[in-house]
Subunit: 231 residues, 2 copies
Amino acid sequence: MASSTLMLYATASGPSTDFLSRLNLADRRQLMAMGERVPRGANEVLFAQGAPAARCFSVIEGVVCLSRGIGDSRRQIVGFALPGAALEIAAQQRHEISAVTIGPALVWEIARESFAQFVSHRPYMLHAVIASVASDLTDSYEQMFSLGRRPADEKLARFLGEWRDRLSRLGKDVDPLPLPMSRRDIADYLGLTVETVCRTLAKLERRGAIEILPGRVRLLGKLDDLLGNCG
Amino acid sequence: MASSTLMLYATASGPSTDFLSRLNLADRRQLMAMGERVPRGANEVLFAQGAPAARCFSVIEGVVCLSRGIGDSRRQIVGFALPGAALEIAAQQRHEISAVTIGPALVWEIARESFAQFVSHRPYMLHAVIASVASDLTDSYEQMFSLGRRPADEKLARFLGEWRDRLSRLGKDVDPLPLPMSRRDIADYLGLTVETVCRTLAKLERRGAIEILPGRVRLLGKLDDLLGNCG
DNA sequence: CGATTCTTTGAACTATGTCAAAACTGGTGG
DNA sequence: CCACCAGTTTTGACATAGTTCAAAGAATCG
């Protein structure tokens, strides 16, 4: 086993997975109490790209879409945050991305200064922050590979497989697999157009790899063949 | 000024920019002495994707190419590391990417345990690690946007502009701008093919945005027009 | 130099994008 | 409960940016 705390990083699995669960119970309670739980509706903006990074966030329930855009035309989704995710805990002065809820959500929020101060006195929490950001970075490597080097069908297969794994790790029912995000969101995540996403999903269905249901997808055995080729 | 150390992150500018310079002089000397300076030739592998992450690195001289691949066919370059960059200081158990020198280089290396131990006792160094990884993550956001949402000419223009800025921040002469990496490397960085890179560079030259020289490019005023549209 | 590797250009192809319209979905209010 | 509406998803026909395959120049290095 690793001898140093710096080596205890978890394997990657979506934006800042499970940050709060890395803390000990007492600290977690105390930290939670310093922030507030805010119920959010669908499509609410938690923070906007370019705005001063005044607060940190954690998703408690729901899904939050993290994206980077220019103008209001082009948008690249850099991740979907699920419960347990910590957002902007290592942000620079300004937010480099935007965060918007997909459907209703429960979000915990805290002022940056409070968070930073709390963390500063607890080296083990600094390690947790490092683990969290490092995990995000690892995810981003795979996402860059996907964006730059995978054809549409592999992008989709990969996306569906990872989404299933993440939800199932949270104990959710994944058969059929819920897809709370719109086709446009999927397109913006994979660097495709809505139309290509639809057509490629239809193609996967014809191949017998998936079954498309409203708001859901059933993943079938054939999908593994495709995922096998994905490295 | 920010009241907390957690807020003192630098703006992004390439892989783990300038990690060592964030340390105080005494610590830097001590840390440097704990590792070793290794001269490297061209195309030497510092570490390989999938291998156990046994050491941390810092580029002292030269350029190191960071990439992720499957098989030996498809490859996505996730960054070019320049002098001052720290590599794998927050890595998980295994390397998620490979690092290969582009041309001769001087690299500082240290065993993970030594590094982790040294850092563990110095909270301010933990902050430096966080700043470093956070900066990498910010870069990766922009890179994801580029890969997913920019056409070839914007990708190239953006790449050239950033490369110039990074070199010039290091005090290098950027007129004409040296391009030590091959066309294939540029292609693998931007998610294009070698041929598209060549053709797009030729197009930019015809438009009067650049002038192509062997191993170098001269950036002309017209390039700023293109960069202006890049957000 | 001569060989090898890298870069550039050409011609043909294709995956994906664009534009447009139809089909579906979920919500609202009568 | 149904009919309608607004938004989303799907499908079709066509356009094109970027890829692929091939071969001709350039640069680099023993």
